[in-house]
């Protein structure tokens, strides 16, 4: 890097905070609410300082009732506000499932098109931080099952910074899943980074021998694996899905048509997962392009263990991704 002041050194957490500030400044209908988002500065310190800057009207601490404050967010959105509801982690979102699935996702339909719900719900997802079986879920694939909502999984600083505003502009409910292990991820972000589109997957690394399809918390491990096999002469393409609903089928098929092999890396449980859906779409659309069965790495189908070594063993890691790639791609002289 030349050291020009075109980028700044920042973290995923700070990028989200910058996105929240930007949204709160741009549009006075925007407000943030959730457990401990105000005085405490957010359970993951994302909203630190925002209460002082924007005041208690727009940075609202809520009671410990996910059903209540998600429901309130839906009501506010119907009433013309642009609420950002923070649910601490995805496991707590289960308490608000009725609000999300039965109300947010259906009211436009049930009201005959009268009421759309421009609501954004943010939550933390994923394992890897020794938070044990009740706080380590990766349920974004579940939510991607539901028509009527969009599901985003920012895995980069650019997306952490840019997805929120685009989500707020969307007329329908959007869920943003922030992987807990990414908050401290550091990197360079353009000073003028701003909103990004949320309909397309992104090719994060170009390659010709195998497609690695992933999103969220496993993007880093996947890029690391691609880097490692490059030394062996295997050229891996890495696709970051970014949005799990709607899935960008065109990009998925495009990469498979290019490389003819695919490994899907998904921190969710294997059975009935988003990885299964991706495999199905590849089979439906690109069967005759496949030179090997599509492979996938998912989390072990167990409640997430607490001990560090067991937790590490339960979720996809770079060496396993490397092994899966080698299995699929056998180079001939």
């Amino acid at each position: 890097m030349s050291g020009e002041a075109k980028t700044i050194r920042t973290t995923y957490r700070e990028a989200i905070r910058a996105a929240l500030r930007d949204a709160l400044q741009r549009d006075e209908r925007v407000f943030l609410m959730g457990e401990d988002v105000g005085r405490y500065g957010g359970c993951f310190a994302v909203s630190k300082g925002l209460l002082d800057e924007f005041g208690a009207e727009r940075i609202r601490d809520t009671p410990l009732s996910e059903a209540a404050f998600v429901g309130a967010g839906i009501g506010a959105a119907m009433g013309g506000a642009r609420p950002i509801v923070e649910i601490m982690t995805v496991n707590f979102s289960l308490l608000a499932l009725d609000q999300i699935v039965n109300n947010a996702a259906t009211i436009l339909h049930m009201s005959g098109g009268q009421f759309n719900i421009p609501l954004v719900i943010r939550m933390t997802t994923g394992a890897g931080r020794q938070l044990a079986a009740q706080h380590s879920h990766s349920l974004e694939g579940w939510y991607a099952h539901i028509p009527g909502i969009k599901v985003l999984a920012p895995a980069t600083l650019e997306d952490a910074r840019g997805m929120l505003w685009t989500a707020l502009e969307d007329p329908d409910p959007v869920l943003i899943f922030e992987h807990g292990s990414l908050y401290n991820m550091e990197g360079e972000l353009a000073v003028d980074a701003g909103p990004v589109e949320i309909n397309r997957a992104a090719v994060r690394r170009s390659g010709t021998d195998v497609s690695l399809i992933t999103y969220g918390g496993t993007l880093g491990k996947t890029l690391q694996a691609a880097q490692e096999v490059a030394a062996e002469g295997i050229s891996a393409e890495v696709v970051d899905l970014r949005t799990l609903r709607p899935l960008d089928t065109a990009t998925i098929i495009g990469t498979v048509v290019k490389t003819h092999r695919a490994v899907i890396v998904d921190e969710g449980w294997r059975s009935g997962s988003i990885s299964a859906e991706i495999m199905a779409r590849i089979m439906e659309n690109a069967f005759y392009e496949l030179d090997a069965p599509v492979a996938r790495l998912c989390s072990a189908e167990v409640p997430m263990p607490y001990p560090k070594h067991l937790e590490d063993a339960a979720i996809p890691q770079a060496p396993e991704i490397v092994a899966a790639i080698r299995q699929l791609v056998r180079k001939h002289g």
Binding site: H260, L290, D291, A292, H332
Partner: protein, 370 residues
């Protein structure tokens, strides 16, 4: 359960090499369908099946050479239940593990997957395997220049058949000159009405005349088998076709007595083309009931033919040429062809042979009825 055996594609055939299966176990087959390709020493022959049913099992692998009569496959008849335990003999080893892309590429590149070694997971054939195989094997074009082996083989086969014929068959020969002026005039008028591609050659008139004459003298049509004549109800005329590289084959045009001239013309052209490309069907080689050979193109006036056993007759034609023709006290020039009959004296006598040639002559005087 029917057995599909290596057919005899001529009296001289001892064995054949199964080149290619066109069906797999479980495939439904219909009477007349081409199910396999067999290489004899004469040609590569497409083999037809004579039952309707389902291929139960295949017993001979591609590339294997087996004697005539060997069971190649078993066919389950329509309505017959599948044999409950799996067939004892394994089917042709087909590469079960082929990636969809590899399969597609193999089709595009014309690579036979049976020849490709898989290097993928558990021996699966991948695209790379197919492409490397395609690069290695530059497939020879259809045998434009057959190898010395094939040439020698073909000569050996002809030698065996002709020696047997002359050793066993007491030939007698009759000849007749036929006035072709009516036939040629009718043909010229007929061809004026037709587009260039639909025009008829006089050979088809000769074939029709022979086939219809057989109805009048059935002793000319059939086989001498085990010391007795077996007449044939169907008339399948074997047409002697010389091959470019030397040698000849005489495959059948089926049921000539029932076919229209147009149809016959098309089939004749197709047969000549396929015979010279070396792609004939089994029934064409095994079915002829009488042979016609036409050497007019070479300027031959009269043919003294050798019967192709186990058939019992061969009709030879020479060149259609203008010759002095006497009639009504006058001499005029007419197009004339010399027809000859070589017949098996065990089956017929000169008297019947004479009637046969006379019938051909008479039929050719009424070309519009052919």
């Amino acid at each position: 359960m029917a057995e599909f055996r290596m057919p005899s594609l001529g009296a001289d055939m001892q064995a054949g090499t199964l080149i290619e299966w066109r069906v797999r176990p479980g495939d439904a087959v219909k009477r007349g369908a081409i199910v396999a390709v067999v290489d004899t020493e004469k040609a590569t022959i497409e083999i037809e099946i004579f039952e309707n049913g389902v291929v139960e099992a295949i017993h001979v692998r591609e590339g294997e050479k087996v004697p005539v009569g060997t069971v190649l496959a078993t066919i389950r008849g329509e309505g017959e239940a599948a044999r409950s335990p799996a067939p004892a003999v394994p089917a042709v080893e087909s590469p079960a593990r082929v990636s969809p892309l590899a399969r597609r590429r193999a089709e595009e590149l014309g690579v036979d997957l049976a020849t490709v070694t898989g290097t993928g997971e558990r021996g699966a054939i991948t695209r790379d395997d197919v492409e490397r195989s395609a690069a290695r094997v530059t497939r020879p074009a259809q045998p434009e220049k057959p190898s010395e082996d094939r040439q020698a083989g073909l000569r050996r086969v002809i030698a065996a058949a002709m020696a047997r014929s002359k050793r066993e068959i007491p030939h007698y020969y009759l000849g007749i000159d036929i006035d072709m002026s009516r036939a040629m005039a009718w043909l010229a008028a007929e061809n004026l009405k037709r587009s260039v591609t639909d025009r008829l050659l006089y050979s088809v008139l000769l074939l029709r005349a022979v086939a219809l004459a057989v109805h009048e003298v059935p002793e000319m049509n059939g086989f001498w088998v085990d010391g007795a004549f077996q007449p044939s109800a169907a008339v399948h005329v074997g047409l002697a076709i010389s091959l470019r590289q030397g040698g000849l084959v005489a495959p059948a045009i089926h049921d000539i007595d029932k076919k229209r001239l147009d149809e016959l013309m098309r089939e004749m052209l197709d047969l000549v083309k396929r015979a010279r490309a070396g792609v004939l069907r089994s029934s064409e080689l095994s079915d002829p009931t009488i042979t016609v050979t036409n050497l007019g193109e070479q300027g031959v006036q009269t043919v003294f033919g050798v019967i192709y056993p186990p058939q019992v007759a061969l009709v030879g034609f020479g060149k259609v040429a203008e010759r002095p023709w006497a009639g009504g006290g006058m001499i005029g020039a007419r197009p004339v062809i010399s027809a000859s009959l070589s017949a098996d004296h065990r089956v017929s006598d000169g008297h019947r042979g004479g009637r046969f040639l006379a019938a051909i002559d008479r039929l050719l005087q009424e070309p519009e009825k052919l």
